[in-house]
């Protein structure tokens, strides 16, 4: 809405374009992982609400626990859990990368891309490992 206002009028009233103009800015690994850490953080907050609901179901007794387990075991439930697993690992690995940055290490351009792809790779591998284990060893379905 603000972006469509004309660039005319007194300087103070002009609707100037707002940084960082993400609609024209080429996505890069650095920027995508940055916003991904925020999005997964928000998504995991929703997952945390589901975790509390699940604990409450367990506190409610066998019947409510069974209903919660059935909901989680449904196709939509499994899809949500899978998405949550990937979001968790992306946020975990991205968070560890942030903690490394907090010690003022790893700011060279090459290192930033290496650790960025490491975060992506580790998240994919860990998600596949968890679900592979659960599916084939733990017998989920």
């Amino acid at each position: 809405m603000a972006d469509k206002a004309p660039l005319t009028g007194s300087p103070a009233r002009r609707m100037r374009p707002k940084s960082p103009n993400i609609q024209i800015y080429r996505p890069q690994l650095t920027s995508v992982l940055s916003i991904a850490n925020r999005i997964t953080g928000a998504a995991l907050s929703v997952a945390a609400v589901m975790l509390v609901a699940w604990l409450c179901a367990a506190a409610g007794g066998p019947q409510s626990y069974g209903a919660a387990q059935a909901a989680l075991g449904s196709p939509i439930g499994l899809l949500l859990l899978f998405a949550c697993t990937f979001a968790f690992f992306l946020h975990l690995c991205g968070g560890i990368r942030h903690l490394m940055w907090d010690t003022v290490h790893g700011f060279e351009l090459r290192t930033i891309y290496t650790t960025g792809w490491l975060v992506v790779g580790a998240s994919v591998v860990l998600t596949v490992l968890v679900w592979g284990f659960g599916w084939f060893v733990g017998g989920w379905y």
């Binding site: 925020r38 907050s45 604990l55 409450c56 075991g73 942030h98």
Partner: protein, 128 residues
């Protein structure tokens, strides 16, 4: 004192910046993050090990001192970290008067959920 530094001597000594909170938010988010690395990984591994478990199996696990303590440790740290992160998201993207209502709602919901989750664990552990 650098030229162009117009802060009062007290403000310079406190070093808290214009928001008057200094690095407190950033620091607490990091402390929570460090605690959550082992807590969440432990919880995930435990949950995978009990995936699809029936009620009796799951509750007998949650009743063990390690599982109960770990889960009750996890909840407040998780929701505190969550509250700090969601606070920044609200601050960054909300520019209307509802910003303050949202900030209060986020903080109270997170603390409330941590308590509800803890009570649920205690009920499984000590109830009937």
């Amino acid at each position: 004192m650098a030229s162009g530094d117009f802060r009062s001597p007290l403000a310079r000594a406190e070093g808290l910046g214009s928001a008057k909170s200094g690095t407190r938010h950033w620091w607490l988010q990091r402390v929570g993050a460090i605690a959550l690395v082992p807590l969440t990984v432990w919880f995930l591994v435990a949950i995978i090990a009990h995936a699809g478990a029936d009620y009796a199996t799951f509750t007998s696990w949650l009743r063990t001192p390690v599982a109960m303590t770990g889960t009750i440790l996890l909840l407040p740290v998780l929701f505190h970290h969550s509250a700090l992160g969601l606070q920044v998201i609200v601050e960054d993207y909300t520019h209307s008067g509802s910003k303050f209502a949202l900030l209060i709602a986020v903080r109270l919901s997170c603390y409330g959920l941590a308590i509800v989750g803890t009570v649920a664990v205690l009920r499984v552990a000590f109830g009937g």
